[in-house]
């Protein structure tokens, strides 16, 4: 092979050395930053979202048996969260209420949940689940494609390796759930005009 480099070849070792020095510097800097480094999985993030959603939803008063009744976070179908969801909710309260996790099996009455995550395993039964919730005030959440079109309320979206969400305001309106304007401003809103809480 010919030596056909445009530059005099003596420049090359210097470039390699510079590259190595750069790498070294990056290492040192990143080692400092390493401590603060957080690597979260998709379902850890989604678990934290479920917890956060509760803060921004106003439920009709009949959703709770009494002023101290807990919030029920329900999972329908296979649980994709693993330990993430218990870690998020354990020992926490929202609006003075404790948080309770419930895992539902097929056919169980889902109306006791305040927020219900419908797992992708339930795709075929989705119409049954949603029609069973008709008239109740359960915030339904899923990451199934087409969830909002099917009448679901909050759908997680994956955008550039980040988890975002879309809200079907017609469906939340039918369920008499009032969503804060802050939540709506962060979401992709579909289905009619935006109705803000308290208006």
């Amino acid at each position: 092979m010919h030596s056909v480099g445009r530059r005099p070849s003596r420049l090359r070792p210097r470039f390699v050395a510079a590259l190595l020095m750069l790498l070294l510097t990056l290492h040192l800097i990143a080692t400092q930053k390493g401590q603060a480094q957080v690597a979260l999985t998709e379902y850890q993030v989604k678990a934290a979202y479920l917890f956060n959603f509760l803060k921004f939803v106003e439920y009709p008063s009949e959703s709770f048996a009494d002023p101290l009744a807990p919030f029920v976070i329900g999972i329908a179908g296979e649980d994709p969260f693993g330990s993430a969801l218990p870690q998020v909710v354990t020992g926490k309260t929202v609006q003075g209420r404790d948080l309770v996790l419930r895992f539902y099996r097929a056919g169980e009455d889902l109306r006791g949940a305040h927020i219900l995550f419908i797992s992708a395993s339930e795709k075929k039964r989705l119409p049954v689940i949603l029609s069973g919730l008709h008239g109740s005030s359960v915030l339904t959440v899923s990451d199934m494609e087409g969830f909002l079109d099917a009448g679901g309320m909050v759908q997680f979206l994956n955008e550039n390796d980040r988890v975002r969400f879309a809200i079907n305001v017609e469906a939340t309106g039918r369920a008499r759930l009032k969503l804060s304007s802050k939540l709506l401003s962060l979401a992709k809103v579909v289905g009619g005009e935006v109705k803000e809480a308290g208006k």
Binding site: R6, R7, A17, H27, A84
Partner: protein, 681 residues
């Protein structure tokens, strides 16, 4: 120096395990997720977003989308190399800085039936109705969000020159490039190369990024295996600004400046008595500056408009015909949903382009300077005959240019999805290739072919034809997409194209000329539209997710061209050249394997069958070749990755293209390798 190097190497390798240990305990569990608010969550990059079941694209066209991930995994260092993964797109590197790129045939250095856009701005020179890839493709690949490639006509929306394909390059919104990025790269061909970028929020709702990039590429080998003197170095800088003006208005503005210098063995006719071209080592200075803004206004979820204004100044200082061109472009589009079933887009456009092309004995334009304007309007309606199942799209474009007057480009497309897993589409469209400066104003001296010693030189000369017509195409396309669960998807496209008014070079009556001395007889050739032809082909791509960590993407292209000259034509060269300029068969396979701890392996292989009737004497065969690229990426942690990539691994060097109509001698593409580190902060 050696001491420093060994010291840093030692630290480097000592540092890695220590770091891995440090970062391990924070992985997930110790972070209190409940303290994170929604804004935080929205910006967390998750380590394993599972690809969800994706809807099959409803587009009734042969579309292929190259994602940022595809670019990164391909190891490509330029946009042309990234385009190799698209079946139906012909990519052949001619020398260090020149590529022949086309879709569905008609490939040459000055390919003229493909439209290329960057963020909606047409990058196109009316000199030859094509793209100078060298000063329009050195964008930082890290900033590209996707490249959409449509094979087949796009004239109904994009107008003349979107004949065989449309390539749309989209850069990332500045909100996606907050923070800093440093890229450093070095290798035997892609030598010193690097980029520095910083982006952030200027004020609430307004984001920016600013970058600079430099690369230096080594010389390749000429046809004899000697130094091809075609090295290339280029410096680019630019910015992008994205602003939300109100809840209904957004503004994007971006600007870029690039300047570089590339070598080539250019074809030069030293004197009119010379029997033909000599390949001379030349240096070409290139530069380009562009400014673009797009203002979008949303009236409602069913109606929005965009107004795009752009200006571009390109300089391509080839010593034989240095060119400067200014282009100003206005583009307005309105998208509106009518009723529940119709989705309408219509638009108006105006382009003003002015150039100055100086010449030499070898080649010049007559006149050297010219100005042209294009006006156009289009309308397209997508009708949901059966929502989610059957869509009919009809549209047309009316365009007026100074060369050929009014042009009419209609198309009709039908998409049928019997269920969520199958989609069939059909399309018939008419597209036109408008005349260029070269077609109409070129004067090219080819050489003295006199055989009688003592007699006057007999100079063969090619003239552009001011009466050159549009080249026309009627295309019939058929496609099928299917998905088997979430793991395997297959995309098929077939076409039959019928072209008319294609270019030939025809002899005219000889005449005598006294200047330049000595007195000589000119045997003129003139561009005419005396060829027609059919092409047909098949393109298949598949994407198979074998496991969560392993994906395989094979592809195959078959293409065949049959050219026929009219009875009045005397051109026997152009037809065979066009037919032979693309391979009959191209097969490829790309694979990605994600190992543990941020390690990933990527490899791709391309098999390209031979090209016939190429080269300056038009009877050269370019042998079939296999290109193998492989790369290894190590994501050390969230912000830093290191990669090692080898390209063209199968052979020390190989030839990809020779162009009978080109302006330069080809080089042989060398085996190469580079190392790259990317750091975000």
């Amino acid at each position: 120096m050696a001491k420093i190097m060994s010291y840093s190497l030692a630290l480097l390798f000592l540092g890695v395990p220590a770091l891995a240990q440090k970062s391990e305990p924070v992985r997930g569990s110790t972070v209190d997720l409940s303290t994170m608010n929604i804004e935080d969550l929205m910006n967390v990059q998750v380590s394993s977003v599972s690809k969800k079941e994706e809807k099959l694209s409803r587009t009734a066209a042969a579309i292929f989308v190259i994602t940022q991930e595809d670019i990164r995994r391909s190891g490509a260092t330029s946009i042309p190399d990234a385009l190799r993964m698209v079946p139906g797109v012909n990519v052949a590197q001619i020398n260090g800085s020149t590529w022949a790129i086309s879709a569905r045939g008609f490939n040459q250095q000055f390919s003229n039936k493909l439209l290329v856009m960057i963020d909606g701005r047409v990058v196109y020179t009316s000199t030859f109705a094509g793209v100078f890839w060298d000063n329009n493709s050195d964008f930082p690949l890290e900033d590209i969000t996707r490249i959409e490639v449509i094979r087949g006509p796009g004239g109904t929306i994009w107008g003349a020159n979107a004949v065989d394909g449309v390539i749309s390059i989209f850069t990332k919104n500045s909100t996606e490039t907050r923070g800093g990025m440093v890229v450093a790269e070095g290798g035997n061909i892609d030598q010193e190369s690097g980029m520095v970028q910083y982006g952030g929020e200027l004020k609430a709702g307004t984001d920016y990024r600013i970058y600079t990039k430099y690369f230096n590429r080594a010389n390749l080998l000429d046809l004899n295996g000697q130094n091809g003197r075609d090295g290339w170095h280029q410096l680019r800088g630019g910015f992008r600004l994205d602003s939300t003006l109100s809840s209904k208005d957004s503004l994007m503005a971006e600007g870029d400046i690039t300047t570089g210098r590339e070598g080539e063995l250019g074809f030069v006719l030293p004197s009119i008595t010379s029997p033909g071209y000599l390949a001379e080592s030349e240096q070409i200075n290139i530069s380009n500056s562009s400014l673009e803004s797009i203002w979008r206004h949303v009236y409602s979820a069913r109606s929005d408009t965009s107004l795009q204004v752009s200006f571009d100044r390109g300089k391509h200082r080839d010593p034989q015909n240095p060119e400067t061109r200014d282009t100003l472009d206005f583009d307005f589009q309105h998208h509106i949903a009518l009723g529940v079933r119709q989705d309408v887009v219509w638009g108006l456009g105006y382009r003003y382009t002015t150039d100055l092309i100086l010449g030499s004995l070898t080649v010049f334009e007559d006149p050297p300077s010219s100005t042209h304007q294009i006006f156009d309007g289009f309308f397209q309606d997508e009708i949901a005959l059966v929502p989610d199942r059957l869509y009919l799209t009809g549209g047309m474009k009316l365009e007026h240019n100074d060369y050929s007057g009014f042009e009419f480009m209609p198309s009709i497309r039908l998409a049928w999805a019997p269920n969520a897993y199958h989609m069939v589409w059909l399309a018939v469209s008419r597209a036109l290739r408008a005349p260029s400066r070269n077609d109409t104003n070129l004067v090219l001296n080819i050489g003295n072919f006199s055989t009688s010693p003592g007699g006057p030189p007999e100079l063969l000369r090619l003239y552009g034809n001011p009466q050159y017509h549009d080249e026309r195409l009627i295309a019939y396309e058929l496609g099928y997409r299917t998905a088997f669960g979430n793991h395997l998807s297959v995309d098929l496209a077939a076409y039959y194209n019928n072209y008319d008014n294609l270019q030939t070079t025809e002899p005219d009556a000889p005449f005598a000329e006294s200047t330049p001395a000595p007195a000589h007889v000119v045997f003129p050739l003139t561009y005419e539209n005396l060829m027609h032809g059919e092409t047909h082909g098949l393109e298949i791509t598949a994407n198979w997710k074998v496991t969560d960590r392993w994906t395989v993407a094979p592809g195959y292209t078959f293409e065949a061209l049959h050219m026929h000259t009219d009875p009045t034509s005397a051109d026997t060269v152009t037809g065979p050249f066009v037919e032979g300029a693309v391979p009959d068969h191209t097969a490829q396979i790309r694979t990605h394997f994600g190992l543990r701890r941020g390690l990933a392996l990527d490899a791709s292989a391309y098999e390209v069958s031979r090209l016939n009737n190429q080269g300056p004497s038009s009877n050269v065969t370019i042998p079939a070749y296999t290109r193998i690229d492989a790369g290894f990426t190590w994501k050390l942690w969230e912000e830093t990755s290191f990669s090692l990539v080898g390209q063209n691994l199968s052979k020390d060097h190989h030839l990809e293209f020779e162009d009978v109509n080109g302006a330069l001698q080809s080089s042989q593409i060398r085996r190469s390798a580079y190392a790259k580190v990317t750091w975000r902060f």
